[in-house]
């Protein structure tokens, strides 16, 4: 069941595999570079932030986003791998959502890019389904006792994104200015968005 592999430094393993696969015409180094560039430059939490800012400023968009996340997100041009069916969870003063993937590290790539280190770490994956308030407090997010905590474990191809609460005192900000406030962590549900 377990596949034995020679112990290798991963940086060396990747070169060995890439060299063999390239030689056999199975991968193209340009495609590799393109994948890396895509997730370094074009696909990241700035996409999700635009979705959130739009939902905060356009009530009808917000309704569409909560009813059919995938379609509403595609309106802004965001789709692709790990985004076949995206459900948006709205945080309110009384309900706080937080997302995890305990079995691997499933994450809504089109809106948030690739998952950060803490999301993939066994500490987060193991603990947030057992003691979410403790984990959130460790991250600096203190929730009032009367806030309901709802944890979502992404175990199928459904991907979850949190629509955080719009902070007070941001009524005068433009959609772009609002988007600049929205963090990746808030869209996973481990932080709140702060006014500037």
């Amino acid at each position: 069941m377990t596949a034995a592999q020679e112990h290798l430094d991963p940086a060396l393993r990747v070169e060995a595999l890439a060299s063999l696969l390239t030689e056999r015409g199975l991968i193209d180094p340009a495609t590799v570079e393109n994948f890396i560039k895509t997730y370094e430059k074009s696909v990241g939490p700035m996409n999700g932030a635009k979705v959130v800012a739009r939902a905060w400023t356009d009530p009808q968009y917000r309704v569409r986003l909560l009813a059919d996340g995938t379609a509403a997100i595609a309106e802004l041009g965001f789709k692709g791998p790990q985004g076949e069916h995206i459900v948006v969870l709205e945080n309110t003063p009384s309900v706080h959502h937080v997302v995890v993937c305990t079995l691997c590290s499933c994450y809504p790539w089109p809106v948030l890019g690739l998952p950060p280190s803490w999301y993939k770490d066994p500490a987060y994956r193991s603990r947030v389904v057992r003691e979410p308030r403790m984990v959130l407090a460790e991250f600096g997010l203190m929730l009032a006792d009367d806030v309901q905590v709802k944890v979502f474990d992404s175990s199928s191809e459904v991907r979850y994104m949190v629509l955080p609460e719009r902070p007070d005192g941001t009524g005068h900000l433009s959609e772009d200015e609002l988007a600049a406030l929205v963090t990746r962590d808030a869209m996973v549900g481990v932080a709140a968005v702060s006014a500037p």
Binding site: M1, T2, A3, A4, Q5, E6, L8, P10, L12, R13, V14, E15, A16, L17, A18, S19, L20, L21, R24, L26, I27, T31, V32, E33, F35, I36, Y39, G44, P81, E84, H85, V87, T102, L103, S105, G113, P116, S117, W118, K120, A123, Y124, S126, R127, V129, R130, E131, R133, E138, F139, V149, K150, V151, F152, D153, S155, S156, E157, V158, D185
Partner: protein, 219 residues
């Protein structure tokens, strides 16, 4: 498979890592490993579910050594399984790249899996209606598959409530082993924390997306 990957509810992993906003790839090899993992799926004639299972089969100590390290070893598992490259080839090539002399072993024989695809992605339409409805009480079956599954240990043999019916999807337990797509409805099932962890735990609810064969009506 009750592997090291199934960490939900485990204790002893210590504090969470800080919420730093670093780049997606901390080191250049990580970006290459990421791309190579995705490309290995196609090169091996495999699928996403088989790739996840290949990562689950990485030995526990190596699994815990880091995300892109296990991702890369998972990719190598897929390629080995399909006879695209052998472990000996990787070892020999690594040695040569390190400036050592190493004979290159013969290429293995290709043995790519064959499984008809119902189309791109994992969402599928089913003629039959879903077996469960929103609001219905369901219980996770006493299942303990030794292969790939998306029913983690911490929600097994538990009673919860369907809060959403999600689109039908390719069944990972089948597709990961190239036994066909066997698409199934998926239900978001909500459990109380008390049902999961007993008295004395924090009050919260947990929702998880479970495939229809994992569930039975709660009686």
């Amino acid at each position: 498979m009750d592997g090291i990957h199934d960490v939900g509810g485990m204790q002893g992993f210590g504090h969470t890592k800080p919420l730093t906003a670093g780049p997606p790839f901390a080191e250049p090899w990580e970006g290459k490993a990421f791309a190579l993992g995705l490309l290995a799926i196609r090169a091996a004639g495999a699928n996403l579910h088989a790739f996840r299972h290949a990562i689950e089969r990485v030995p526990p100590a190596e699994y815990l050594s880091g995300y892109y390290a296990r991702w890369l070893m998972g990719a190598q598992n897929l390629l080995q399984d399909s006879g695209v490259v052998s472990g000996e080839e990787v070892t020999a090539r690594a040695a040569r790249l390190s400036g050592q002399h190493a004979a290159e072993p013969a290429q293995p024989e290709l043995r790519k899996p064959g499984m008809p695809s119902g189309g791109p992605g994992n969402l599928r339409n089913l003629d039959a209606p879903p077996a469960f409805a929103v609001g219905e009480a369901v219980r996770t079956r006493n299942l303990d598959p030794s292969g790939h599954t998306r029913l983690p240990r911490y929600v097994r043999r538990r009673t919860g409530t369907v809060i959403a019916v999600q689109p039908a999807q390719v069944f990972p337990d089948s597709a990961a082993h190239f036994l066909g797509e066997d698409p199934q409805y998926v239900y978001s099932v909500e459990f109380t924390s008390r049902e999961l962890w007993g008295a004395g735990c924090e009050p919260f609810s947990l929702s998880i997306d479970l495939f229809e064969p994992y569930l039975e009506p709660a009686t």
